[in-house]
């Protein structure tokens, strides 16, 4: 009996599952395109969509049933993502929660913490913002200075976080805080969850390249957070954050369907405008297909290995570089095909406006979730064995 026979195709059950999510999306997708999730109105529309997803138990199919999931495996999650991107369903406003904090809680949280936070996350009642970076701690995350001092069962937090994605309208933030004031670098940090409506918190939205506040600064001035909101023990923050960052760079943040969908749209755009395109564009169309296909194969390969007991480590840095460069290249190519139409706004040219918005966002890919330069250092040091 060969238990591990290679099989690169879907099972009957997986195909049935695909049909189920497909039908559900057809029946439940919003009839009109939602407003941008980085506007107040759009944010609440996207929260409603999270609630709708949850009503069908689709928030996070890999989670256990008791927390609003379906107890499915990573392959089925990838199928869900494929169907989701195929119909261009709304952006997940709670991706910081469901993709990053969720898995972290599952691994490091207490039962009480799981009960309190996971269901509210799945239902969209708690939308989460990231709270890693500080003005003096970007790529060098161990330089974090925001303090959390334990006092009568509360952490008293003082300092400032920045580039906090979704914080303009979110309900909670999670991040690293220095709980041991004598400590340095990655020692003495703890992983704490903080409601954003507490007294002493000031959120100052930062308009992004598209003019909308996708991230924000968060100021903490004697903010009191109950000690129960710490994940893991005091001083365990760095270890837990590294695991969270691994989820982000690894499978969860950017499933391949997103890029395959972009590659398919790029091909359509090319075919509509073929008579004006040079062979140089053909080369880019092929590169887009070949790389998005490779990324998908790689992720299915990785997911299969993980399901056979392997764990994912620094390898996730390879993928983060690959998809972020690919995404940029595809959008750049789309703008070349659009030519002089590329700069036009939605009223003039709806397709062009979508591509240029995506193009601007693709510039962020090599920066967020750890810059690509930091990822290359990680690859060189941890995978190739080069000295720090």
């Amino acid at each position: 009996m060969q238990i591990l026979k290679m099989k690169i195709s879907f099972t009957e059950e997986q195909n049935t599952f695909r049909q189920e999510i497909r039908s559900w999306l057809v029946a439940n997708l919003p009839k009109e395109k939602l407003k941008s999730l980085d506007t107040k109105e759009g944010f609440e529309q996207h929260r409603e969509w999270e609630k709708t997803l949850n009503s069908g138990n689709w928030s996070m199919v890999t989670w256990p049933k008791e927390y609003g999931g379906r107890g499915l495996n990573l392959i089925e999650w990838l199928i869900f993502e494929e169907e989701y991107y195929r119909v261009e369903a709304p952006t997940r406003v709670n991706q910081n929660g469901v993709f990053l904090l969720g898995p972290t809680l599952m691994e490091f949280g207490t039962d009480d913490q799981k009960n309190k936070f996971l269901n509210a996350m799945a239902s969209g009642d708690h939308i989460w913002a990231q709270g890693w970076s500080e003005p003096g701690a970007g790529s060098d995350m161990a330089a974090i200075r925001t303090t959390a001092v334990l006092e009568d069962g509360f952490f008293v937090i003082n300092g400032q976080k920045t580039w906090s994605s979704r914080a303009a309208y979110a309900d909670y933030t999670f991040g690293l805080f220095r709980t041991d004031l004598e400590s340095e670098r990655h020692h003495g940090l703890s992983f704490i969850l903080a409601p954003l409506d507490l007294p002493g918190i000031t959120v100052r939205p930062i308009p992004q390249l598209d003019g909308e506040p996708g991230f924000a600064e968060i100021y903490f001035d004697d903010v009191r957070v109950p000690v129960e909101n710490m994940i893991g023990g005091e001083g365990d923050g760095w270890k837990i954050a590294m695991a969270t960052a691994g989820f982000e760079r690894g499978l969860m943040l950017r499933s391949p369907a997103r890029f395959q969908q972009t590659a398919a749209k790029l091909l359509s755009l090319y075919l509509e405008n073929e008579s004006q395109c040079s062979p140089a564009i053909q080369a880019k169309i092929v590169e887009a297909w070949a790389k998005s296909e490779s990324y998908a194969l790689s992720i299915y390969h990785t997911a299969s290995k993980m399901m056979s007991g392997a764990s994912i480590g620094s390898e996730s840095s390879l993928g983060k570089i690959f998809w972020s460069e690919l995404d940029y290249m595809m959008h750049e190519t789309a703008l070349k095909i659009l030519g002089a139409s590329a700069e036009l706004d939605e009223e003039q040219h709806q397709n062009a406006a979508q591509w240029i918005k995506g193009f601007m966002f693709s510039y962020a890919g090599p920066i967020y979730a750890g810059t690509n330069e930091i990822q290359k250092n990680i690859i060189a040091e941890r995978l190739l064995g080069l000295p720090r």
Binding site: Q2, L4, M6, S9, V286, L297, S304, F322, Q375
Partner: protein
């Protein structure tokens, strides 16, 4: 969906790796160059004794029945050591399509190749100069319309020099007494083309990994400004870029192998994809590896060029990335399938 290897498949790879690390060292390759005998008969015989030469023949043909996926893993190891003997791109190729040759050609191959242990050379529009013709017991020639088998004594040819001293090439001037047929030609030609493409892609994966490993070791060893040059980010990032390119070429090669195994109707596209990605990885591996080695990389003395030369040759053989790009483009353009999210598997 289980995109993982079986224990058996990994075992074949391990065995191959262990054997070749002993038998195919840079020194042994260099002494083949000096003696103008790059094909090492002793090593050929040792590989034959392992049963590797007929590995992918069916058991009734005297082989081991190794599948294309395991074969890809074994071939990667042959690339890793820059094996001069053309076992992957000629022997495995012939074995794999043996049953597709017209009967009279199949009989002629069987009569000569001793269950894969003797060498049959191949010429094809994408591989026009057969390697090691003087060692061959037969030559398969594919032209635009038909397939021919000819005995080496009936071939008039001249030796031509490759930039890779491990490859002895011939230009065919004329042939007589050929056994020719155009039976089943389209399918045969397509399957040969796909396998030539995929087997060279697997070799390039191994070669790229070897160049990366050599470079990582070199930059750890070489000191400037009082520390290993591998501690400088500019150097780290060049090598990290190679690692990324290899990581995403690999699953394309594995998938294409699996497609051949399963006779997937898209296997030609999948093989083109594999070679396209493998060539891109190998190009970067060559360029960044020589840069990481500095002037040492530009010397004959350093072993790096053993692997670079082999890569340059194999990138071009059986269709370079530009050729594969055309195949992919024409498929994307004409396919009724929406080649997107739902059509990977």
């Amino acid at each position: 969906m289980k995109f993982v290897f079986t224990e058996d498949q990994l075992q074949f790879q391990d065995t191959m790796r262990g054997f070749l690390s002993q038998e195919c060292t840079p020194d042994s390759i260099r002494s083949g160059w000096v003696d103008k005998q790059p094909l090492n008969q002793q090593r050929w015989n040792a590989i034959a004794e392992l049963g590797v030469l007929g590995a992918n023949l069916s058991e009734e043909d005297g082989g081991l029945g190794v599948d294309q996926v395991a074969l890809a893993l074994m071939v990667e190891e042959m690339g890793y050591v820059a094996l001069p003997e053309p076992i992957a791109e000629q022997s495995f190729l012939i074995n794999d399509v043996l049953h597709l040759f017209p009967d009279q050609i199949q009989d002629a191959i069987r009569a000569e190749f001793n269950e894969g242990k003797e060498y049959i050379a191949v010429s094809h529009p994408q591989n026009p100069h057969p390697v090691f013709l003087s060692e061959a017991k037969g030559l398969i020639m594919i032209d635009e319309t038909s397939c021919h088998f000819v005995k080496p004594s009936d071939v008039s040819s001249e030796l031509i020099k490759s930039n890779d001293p491990s490859r002895v090439l011939s230009r065919i001037l004329g042939v007589k007494n050929t056994i020719s047929s155009d039976d089943n030609f389209q399918q045969l030609n397509q399957e040969i083309n796909s396998r030539g493409t995929l087997l060279t892609a697997s070799l390039l994966l191994g070669l790229s990994q070897k160049m990366l490993d050599l470079s990582s070791a070199y930059v750890l060893d070489r000191n400037q400004f009082g520390k290993p040059i591998g501690s400088f980010q500019a150097v780290k990032h060049m090598l990290a870029d190679i690692a990324v390119a290899i990581e995403f070429a690999r699953p394309a090669v594995y998938r294409a192998s699996y497609s051949l195994l399963e006779t997937n109707p898209k296997s030609a596209l999948h093989c083109a994809h594999a070679k396209y990605m493998a060539v891109k990885a190998a190009e970067l591996a060559c360029k960044n590896s020589i840069q990481a080695h500095g002037a040492m990389g530009y010397t004959w003395e350093m072993d790096l060029h053993i692997y670079m030369r082999k890569s340059w040759s194999l990138m071009a053989c059986w269709g370079n990335d530009d050729y594969q790009q055309n195949i992919i483009f024409n498929t994307l353009r004409s396919s009724d399938d929406e080649l997107g999210v739902l059509y990977t598997f």
